[in-house]
């Protein structure tokens, strides 16, 4: 089982959601986050005081899935989020040791989908 964490542009969220749904991987948690990669940030100025390279708004998507869903999920995220420009974001794939469904107490693969 893997935990896929993707950081994407806020404006691509609808496309990514649609692509994930098309790939039958529509379960996700979405959080607005701040961050900065190679795109750098934009310098903000408040009454002359500069805040250089401030953080930009991004969207974080977290998806837990079984191993055979990892590649389709990654492909769907790329399909929805890629514009080809700097700042499109990153995808991190982490090992996931267990999943528990709170309602039933199920563990592992039964709980993931």
């Amino acid at each position: 089982m893997k935990l896929i964490v993707a950081i994407i542009q806020p404006s691509r969220l609808e496309e990514v959601k649609q692509a994930l749904e098309d790939a039958n991987a529509g379960l996700m948690t979405v959080t607005p986050v701040l961050g900065r990669g190679r795109q750098k940030g934009i310098t903000e100025v408040y009454r002359g005081a500069k805040e250089i390279g401030s953080l930009l708004k991004k969207i974080k998507i977290e998806i837990a899935c079984s191993d055979d869903f990892v590649e389709p999920t990654i492909e769907a995220i790329i399909k929805g989020a890629r514009s080809g420009e700097i700042g499109d974001g990153k995808i991190f794939v982490l090992d996931l040791s267990d999943v528990v469904r709170i309602r039933t107490g199920e563990h592992g693969r039964e709980a993931i989908g």
């Binding site: 404006s11 609808e14 607005p32 934009i42 310098t43 100025v45 708004k57």
Partner: protein, 409 residues
């Protein structure tokens, strides 16, 4: 000179001033988080830009000594000859300066209304140049035709108490032209652009309602019975329109919405503007109910059918509402209410409705054509629309280097 009249007009000027920041919150709440400051900025900046333009030459172009019925001369530039004594041609009981400053607030809010149409995608520099040109070449001439001594529409016999055409139709049609030319926002129709802060919109709508008493009742230019009538009809029509819009939504979509009731109230304010000093409170109820219904349909049905992206519905509320109000004045006006007015169609005088029509068509055609020309001009000079990257990040950061809300702390 009358101290009561002078006090009322000065207070009314302050009331109309607060409408522009009110409008900023009304619009800002409907925008997305990343663009709220750009709308507040555009409204506030117009107060600064036109506040100076009006004194330097705007007032003279609109109200100065007539040149051929088309425009005022520059004789009153820098308020030369505009002083502490009344100018009998406009108002016998208040200082000429008080009349000038009251009119300046109208000159400020009119271009501010347009910004709702190109919201979330205009370059700030282009907005500044367009606004200055529009105020100079559209607002000032139309104000002169209708309100300036010698203006060619003033003697036509059309009635426009507080600026249904001069303010709302001229800005509303320009807004439609602008949003058609600038194009849709990225993602429009694919994504729902939910208003980011409806409480702001309610606050803004409430400030507009409050300030509009100055706009309409102040336009009597006296603290008299006509001002009181305008005050009452304004409140009544606004209430009726907010009510009818919400009711229509309730029937159509299953729930009355906050955005709906506030939008309805603004539609009612717009519609009663040309009529408020000439119609009875009973007529105001009818004008308001109809305004709420047709503006709601314009925004929810017409816009979808035609597919234009008028971001914050300037056309649907101001042009449609202002048009209805102008024609309604031709139907419901009564000489019993205001001796200086005329009887409308329902009181035995079809001529007034005809005059209203001529008045409406000449102004709307001029404003639409000029908005088109000015857009093309500014687009060639500096480009009107921001780059795609900037539009996605938002205008607050890319045009003003600021963010409205911090996310951390």
């Amino acid at each position: 000179m009358n101290s009561g009249d002078t006090a009322w007009v000065l207070i009314s000027s302050a009331l109309v001033l607060i409408m522009t920041p009110g409008l900023a919150f009304f619009y800002g709440g409907m925008a997305r988080k990343k663009n709220v400051l750009s709308l507040l900025m555009q409204c506030f900046f117009i107060m600064c830009l036109i506040g100076v333009q009006w004194v330097v030459y705007g007032y003279s172009l609109a109200f100065g000594p007539d040149v051929g019925g088309i425009i005022g001369s520059l004789d009153w530039a820098f308020l030369h000859n505009v002083g502490l004594k009344p100018f009998d041609g406009y108002s016998k009981t208040i200082p000429h300066l008080a009349f000038m400053v009251f009119q300046s607030m109208f000159a400020v809010i009119t271009p501010a209304l347009i910004i709702g149409a190109f919201a979330e995608r205009i370059k700030f520099s282009a907005f500044v140049v367009f606004t200055l040109l529009w105020a100079t070449l559209v607002y000032d001439p139309i104000a002169h035709w209708v309100w300036g001594n010698g203006g060619w529409l003033k003697d036509l016999g059309a009635l426009d108490f507080a600026g249904g055409i001069v303010v709302h139709v001229s800005s509303g049609i320009s807004a439609l032209v602008m949003c058609l030319l600038i194009g849709k926002r990225i993602g429009y129709e694919k994504t729902a652009f939910a208003p980011h802060n409806l409480p702001f919109t309610v606050l803004g709508g409430a400030l507009l309602w409050f300030g509009w008493f100055g706009f309409n009742a102040g336009s009597a230019l006296a603290a008299d019975g006509i001002a009181a009538n305008a005050f009452v009809t304004t409140n009544t029509a606004t209430a009726a329109a907010g009510f009818s819009w919400a009711l229509l939504e309730w029937i159509k979509d299953g729930a009355p919405t906050v955005l709906g009731v506030v939008s309805g109230a603004v539609a009612g304010l717009v519609a009663i503007t040309p009529a408020c000093g000439y119609v009875s409170p009973t007529s105001a109820i009818i004008i308001g109910i109809v305004a709420g219904v047709i503006c709601c349909l314009a925004v929810t049905v017409l816009k979808q059918r035609l597919g234009y992206d008028d971001s914050l519905d300037v056309f649907g509320v101001h042009c449609v509402g202002g048009t209805w109000g102008t024609l309604a004045t031709g139907l419901f006006a009564q000489k019993v209410i205001n001796e200086g007015g005329a009887d409308g169609l329902f009181f035995g005088n079809p001529q007034l409705l005809l005059n209203q029509g001529i008045y409406f068509i000449s102004c709307i055609a001029y404003a639409a054509a000029m908005a088109w020309v000015l857009f093309k001009l500014v687009d060639v000079l500096i480009g009107v629309r921001v780059e795609k990257k900037d539009e996605l990040i938002g205008l607050d950061l890319t045009q003003h280097n600021e963010a409205a809300y911090t996310v951390l702390e």
